[in-house]
Symmetry: C2
Subunit: 417 residues, 2 copies
């Protein structure tokens, strides 16, 4: 079970969480709980670090910010004990949760689970601070913001959990953002791959890395709300959304009257920016000269469109990158203007990416066509297109994003009755 | 160097501390710094624990409250780096600071200093959270409130430091509380034994346990103010008070025109309570029946006065204990009334203990006589007396404590010119 910062914000809320955890134990489960810091606490600590030193040492930053989860792990153990449960905290360095040494953005390499499993088998609820680990030099690491989801999945994998329940402030994964489309439906199941596409294009329910890890380790993840009725019976009837493998979903659907949907959901992302370089020389190496430096600078380029060369052996290259990286991107390409050989750079951050996602589309050629027609019928101009096996994305004017999502939600027959 | 919570309360103050530390390094010293949590932070965390569970598990309490010092240690390292110093934090479990398993009141057993010394020799300032350690089971411990002073002395002993500078909100140890006696003088030197007597009778500059440890390990401790002028040259001229051994003080005074004072200081303690049991049977074992149970209950009995047996083979027994333990003391003795065999129990918490302290008094019989006469001249009634090799204490009405301190400060010629 994993609880986020909103669920851990203060004594009353942690007491509520302890009640939810206790009910799972009473239902016969062995339970490990991963917790975030109290809402606002990590921001407070990050701010202290920034005030201390704008160019902060990430190893010391990790020492400071890891304290937030340490506090809530001890407190949840105390609250569980107050309810009569046996419970103890296991800090990142105690298990340990071994990570690489990429401070502030570390990756979990291994979790030693022997002591943890023995304690759980003896009836103790294990409380584990999310977000933190131990590097090969014995120093504290953190996983990057939102890293507690990844901690939870890693712990679930280490103890071979039947399920990893991620409690959030939403009650599951929806066909699209319910704030945009009132008729959005909660999904009962979604595959890892779909969830990855939904997460990475702006459906911010889970940290992307946690979904990748769940897919790699085959951990069944459930997203559900921590603001459920505390007196209700334990959640074996899937009150949230289950994230499972393609194969498991096929098995689950077998023998039921449910059918696999062609399209699982529609996602929108307003954090993209578009950059066009005009009249780039159409010669080998030109594109590499553009994207090599961006890759080295860890700028995540998403869509790339290159028109077929015009008569003069020149072409326009358009791509998207995160808005937060736009200034760095422009500076890098400005520096290399002669080397790359382009005429003009045009940047536009008033764009948004809208994607339709679904494992079912693999076998259906018409998905993209439906999308383009539906958008065209409403006069929405498509500036760029990219596709993957289970996704079609288009770039549009950011003013039109809500309209586009609503139009597509209806076009793919996702609207709730 | 050790800095308390007031010195670490927020970005501006920690930056100031970093400046003070840097100046010591610039003066050619290798430096380790022990820090407290930000003022108020430990109270905040303790309060969360109490709200969680009135009968809290001390092991989990330790996990929660140790976070406060973890935060300030990382932050001070960042501030030092911002000033161009090399610095890193060493958490209690990283060195490690090994303690027993008495959670929330642990004792330091050993500090492994190899890595610490190597780092300091390489020019890194070591920043160590006070108050925290690691028990034999690998769990977090804390030393009890005020424990950072003890951490600092233990670190100083482990690295065989030339000096352990404890920065506080006072600028040294005074002949008495300057708030009571305006003419109180700051002491340049005080011996461990004197400091112990001064600390344990109410001069709250240092945690008593830290002084005992310094005496045992021969650590030279300096108490000084952290609110000094930051631009002043490093403090090699002893701006505070040095706490040293009797032998070292003799050596220091040799060849100077300074003389050892007969009396070092006057301390007052209003936290005592007086209990009298009347008509206790004057037989072997009667006194043991009173004080045995109190000792078992960890009630710290200080002065004990037993009058010579009267005709009837009965005597009155009077003793003092901390006011905080008075209710428990009364309950314990009430339960054992028949077993002890006393007539009446009279408790009085409106008492105070005033003590004159000085290593010099060992060879001067007249110290007590001076005290009694000075108090008698002002009509102050003495309710009880106790003496040690370097201390004479009297119990008086708590309303008269300020007057008594002033009178004695003058009588022993301690007033500043």
């Amino acid at each position: 079970m994993k609880f986020g910062g909103t669920s851990m914000a203060g004594t009353e809320r942690i007491r509520r969480v302890a009640g939810i955890v206790k009910r799972q134990q009473e239902a016969g489960h062995e339970v490990a709980v991963v917790v975030s810091a109290m809402a606002g606490e990590t921001d407070r600590l990050v701010n202290f670090c920034r005030e201390a030193n704008a160019l902060y040492d990430r190893a010391e930053y990790d020492v400071v910010v890891a304290a937030g989860e340490q506090i809530t792990s001890g407190l949840l153990a105390l609250h569980l004990q107050a309810l009569g449960c046996k419970a103890r905290s296991w800090l990142g360095w105690q298990l340990p949760v071994r990570t690489d040494d990429a401070h502030a953005a570390a990756r979990i390499e291994d979790i030693t689970s022997d002591a943890l499993l023995a304690s759980m088998a003896a009836g103790e609820i294990a409380v584990i601070p999310g977000f933190q680990g131990l590097d090969p030099d014995g120093r504290v690491t953190t996983l990057g913001r939102g890293g507690s989801d990844t901690s939870a999945v890693a712990v679930a994998a280490a103890v071979q959990a039947d399920r990893c329940d991620i409690y959030t402030d939403v009650d599951g994964v929806y066909t699209t953002d319910p704030r945009i489309v009132a008729k959005a439906r909660k999904l009962k199941y979604v595959t890892y791959e779909e969830m990855l596409e939904l997460a990475s294009v702006g459906s911010k329910v889970l940290q992307t890395r946690s979904v990748s890890l769940a897919m790699k380790e085959g951990v069944r993840v459930q997203v559900l709300s921590s603001f459920i009725d505390e007196s209700a019976p334990p959640a074996d009837s899937i009150p949230g959304t289950m994230i499972v493998s393609d194969e498991e979903l096929a098995k689950i659907l077998e023998g039921t009257d449910m059918e696999r949907q062609l399209i699982t959901g529609i996602a929108a992302d307003k954090n993209e920016a578009k950059v066009t370089l005009t009249r780039v020389a159409d010669r080998p190496g030109a594109v590499a000269a553009i994207f090599g430096p961006l890759a080295e600078a860890n700028i995540n380029v998403d869509m790339i469109i290159q028109n077929i060369a015009k008569d003069k052996g020149e072409t326009d290259v358009t791509f998207t990158c995160p808005q937060a990286d736009l200034a760095r991107t422009q500076a890098l390409l400005e520096e290399r203007k002669e080397q790359i050989g382009y005429y003009r750079m045009i940047a536009d951050s008033k764009v948004a990416k809208v994607s339709v996602v679904g494992v079912g589309m693999r076998s259906h050629a018409g998905v993209a066509a439906t999308m383009f027609k539906a958008l065209a019928d409403r006069g929405i101009n498509i500036q760029a297109i990219s596709t993957s096996e289970i996704k079609v994305s288009v770039l549009i004017d950011s003013d039109e994003v809500e309209l586009a999502v609503r139009v597509l939600h209806t076009a793919y027959e996702l609207d709730a009755a």
